[in-house]
């Protein structure tokens, strides 16, 4: 009976996702025609029903389910809502996830939902076992999604992802095992109690370092970010959108919770995380300069923003976490905006190079303006929401102690350099070129989503206070 009560109070959205995964599998056996459309409809309904179910679970006070392995708080629920929003936008925007393999649509969407399910359970996990299983499930789903293309490059990308993912899981497990050796427990709250009793020693610090480094793999920070660049290039655009959002949100949710429970005992880990984040920001800002492929550029931008997210998580304060939530919220829309624009462009003209975006302003003005707004928001220029989120982040950083000021200064330099990444695309869009300008036609939903994202980006800048207050309230309940 306790299981049913647990399910009803904390596990309901995940249950709905499981049911729809099963429905997808069953459909794949029986339905032969119109597979893509039906699969899309089931997935969208899964996401919406899971979103509705979130309102039925208990979030205040915190509910510990399944013998304290699974947790349900306001913080985790807000992350789940953000994942659902991003999942929904990804599905709506990518109208051509899988161009060739139409008959395998159900499998694709099964794995899609499995990824979302694993992201949910990763955020709500209170125990290293469930965290590890969720990480593995998320990784496996992403391996599948990456390779879902008849192209040889996709398979190669997926294999690289697998090998790097496996090695990072190994490092994670090493860290967890040493932590288990010190405390004898795998539950976050129990570990935190044990450490507060026994004090910290060198093994604790080493194990925490191993864990945090392995978790930054999923985010895509240095030193694990090399695979991201190849992955994004290999997969389709829709999958790229998915990959740039869902694992990232899930991983940063877990990292922030770990920071509160375990890593807050020694400041070395905070500073180390901040340095890793800083290095990844600088690396991606400088590395992205030479790119000519638009997907690789997006990959470098994704690494850049992962660095910012990690930096926000590393100031372990309520203020820092509210920055984090606000940043993720604005980042979802900006990111979907730019990927969506590329999806729209590529469905008309299959090309991956930046140069081919030349001069699209003169035939498609509204499209280019919306695209430019999203790019400027990623770069962090006013009057877009990216500016506000970065401002908030920098004000959170400046509240910490002295080393953070140095980090802040270097981050500012790196932000300036990273402007170049985005202005590369903007410059190309507005180049005056008499021949060769392409007209984009016939894609309504994608364009609508692009416009919505750009308008939301500006609206958040005009009236940000509500969102900031909301994120402060949420962060308080971590």
């Amino acid at each position: 009976m306790e299981i049913i009560k647990d399910i009803q109070s904390a596990f309901l959205p995940e249950l709905i996702l499981i049911i729809f995964i099963l429905i997808n599998i069953v459909f794949s056996l029986f339905i032969r025609k119109n597979t893509y459309r039906i699969a899309k409809i089931t997935t969208i309904s899964a996401i919406t029903l899971a979103g509705l179910a979130i309102f039925f679970i208990q979030i205040n006070p915190t509910y510990f389910a399944f013998n304290e392995v699974y947790i349900s708080t306001i913080y985790t629920t807000s992350f789940k809502i953000m994942i659902l929003i991003s999942g929904l936008l990804v599905i709506l925007s990518a109208n051509n996830f899988i161009r060739e393999k139409r008959q395998k649509a159900f499998e694709f969407f099964t794995i899609f939902l499995a990824g979302i399910l694993s992201a949910f359970s990763l955020i709500s996990s209170n125990d290293f076992i469930s965290a590890f299983i969720s990480i593995e499930l998320l990784s496996v789903s992403c391996y599948f999604l990456t390779s879902f293309r008849r192209n040889h490059k996709a398979k190669e990308a997926a294999l690289k992802y697998l090998i790097t993912g496996a090695s990072s899981s190994a490092i994670l497990l090493l860290g967890i095992s040493y932590l288990y050796g010190i405390t004898g427990n795998l539950n976050f709250s129990n570990i935190s109690d044990a450490i507060s009793v026994s004090g910290i020693n060198i093994m604790f610090i080493i194990s925490c370092i191993l864990i945090i480094i392995a978790l930054t793999f999923k985010l895509g920070c240095i030193p694990f970010s090399n695979w991201i660049i190849d992955i994004y290039e290999g997969s389709t655009y829709g999958v790229g959108t998915y990959l740039s959002l869902i694992p990232k949100i899930a991983a940063i949710g877990l990292i922030s919770r770990l920071f509160v429970f375990i890593f807050s005992y020694s400041p070395i880990i905070q500073i180390l995380t901040a340095i890793i984040a800083l290095c990844s920001i600088i690396y991606s800002a400088i590395g992205g300069i030479k790119q000519t492929n638009i997907k690789r550029l997006y990959a470098y931008s994704s690494i850049l923003h992962s660095g910012f997210l990690l930096l926000a998580a590393s100031c372990v304060s309520v203020y820092g976490f509210s920055c984090l939530i606000f940043y993720i919220f604005t980042y979802i829309f900006m990111n979907i905006g730019i990927w969506n624009a590329s999806i729209i462009y590529t469905t008309n003209y299959q090309s991956d190079k930046i140069i081919d975006y030349k001069g699209i302003f003169y035939k498609n003005p509204y499209f280019s303006i919306a695209y430019t707004i999203c790019l400027l928001s990623l770069a962090g220029l006013p009057p877009t929401s990216g500016f506000l989120s970065k401002l908030y982040l920098f004000s959170a950083l400046s509240r910490e102690d002295f080393t953070y000021l140095i980090i802040l200064f270097l981050t500012l330099c790196a932000t300036v350099i990273s402007l170049f990444l985005y202005f590369k695309i903007i410059k190309v869009i507005y180049e005056k070129n008499s021949q060769d300008t392409k007209i984009i036609k016939n894609i309504t939903i994608g364009k609508i989503i692009l416009y919505i994202c750009s308008i939301i980006t500006i609206l958040i800048c005009i009236y940000p206070n509500e969102f900031i207050k909301l994120s402060q309230i949420i962060a308080y309940y971590i």
Binding site: F132, E136, Y143, S147, I163, A166, A170, L174, Y180, G181
Partner: protein
């Protein structure tokens, strides 16, 4: 002779871990890489089980975790094999130099 304490197991698992990782980095054949991943996972398993056996903890979470790790590493290897097979259909041999197309 002398007793086998916890530390022996820990050192053994570290050596296995290092062997596995060096194998991942050095091996030319991708199947060897997969096998080395398995070696690393078993080293971690050894770690967990050693801790559970030698220390009197209240819960036996370590052993249960070891079971899960085994299962999941099997899953990873299975997927790895599937991907390698897909690549193998287009190329004759799978070495780490063959899968270098995405770069820059």
């Amino acid at each position: 002779m002398f007793e086998i304490t916890l530390y022996h197991y820990l050192v053994l698992s570290l050596i296995l871990f290092a062997i596995g990782f060096i194998g991942i980095i050095i091996s030319k054949n991708i199947i060897k890489v997969l096998i080395c991943i398995e070696i690393v996972m078993s080293a971690i398993n050894l770690n967990f089980i050693a801790f559970t056996a030698y220390k009197n903890y209240l819960f036996l979470s370590g052993m249960i975790f070891a079971l899960f790790i085994t299962a999941i590493s099997a899953l990873q290897t299975a997927i790895g094999l599937v991907l390698i097979y897909q690549i193998y259909k287009n190329k004759e041999k799978i070495t780490s130099e063959e899968i270098e197309e995405l770069k820059g």
